[in-house]
Symmetry: C2
Subunit: 100 residues, 2 copies
DNA sequence: TGAACATATGAATAACTGTTCATTTGTTAA
DNA sequence: TTAACAAATGAACAGTTATTCATATGTTCA
């Protein structure tokens, strides 16, 4: 008794593809997982993942552009946190598939 | 009262990223949408999307490798259909985000 | 068998992407 | 102000990817 799933406009499909591209990188996935529990500064994330500050900063910008994380400034640091309820759901749905 | 979302092994994260990469292309999204309703042959998909047969075939292979579509042979044609319940759910979850 | 058709494959190319390095911007506290 | 620190940015590079063209494989039917 499902509604037919009509194909969205090409424009929307491009946006959708762009969104999934964001999830299609292990570094960004790791960052998102890191933020599942709590907000973290750029430096904290970089250290906890053992990666360059610059790399993390670049990827956080991608996440922010796609409205998946938001920031809170506190002194010199900038704290990032998840900005969307769908993030967890999308990742968990993907995980379901990967884990059979 | 959620369980803590522990970060999966790196190995699993790579697989997860690879899965999302598959969703991160508008041609593959269009193919999957086409298969939402019903199975279709390669030629049908190519024609309905107005793309090269070769392009569709290449992308169907990607979808198949990732266990997202399955095939059924009938004479000269090969009919593709969705092979996973998660496909719709993942796409719809992404659409929710894209459409605000 | 051979012709006609459907699909798959391989090589080539152009475009895109993640990381690094070097530098800049922005903030705090002396 | 300045020094010290945190984060952002830009250019460059290596690696990846989607598409096309040409061709091969596989199937049916006469």
């Amino acid at each position: 008794m499902n509604k037919p799933d009509k194909m969205p406009e090409l424009e929307v499909l491009f946006e959708l593809a762009d969104l999934f591209k964001v999830f299609g990188d292990s570094t960004r996935l790791r960052i998102m997982y890191t933020l599942f529990e709590d907000e973290h500064s750029v430096g904290e994330i970089a250290e906890s993942l053992g990666m360059e500050q610059s790399t993390i900063s670049h990827q956080l910008r991608v996440l922010r552009t796609n409205k998946l994380v938001k920031i809170r400034r506190e002194g010199k640091q900038i704290y990032y946190s998840l900005d969307d309820d769908h993030v967890k759901k999308i990742i968990e749905m993907g995980l379901d598939h990967v884990l059979e």
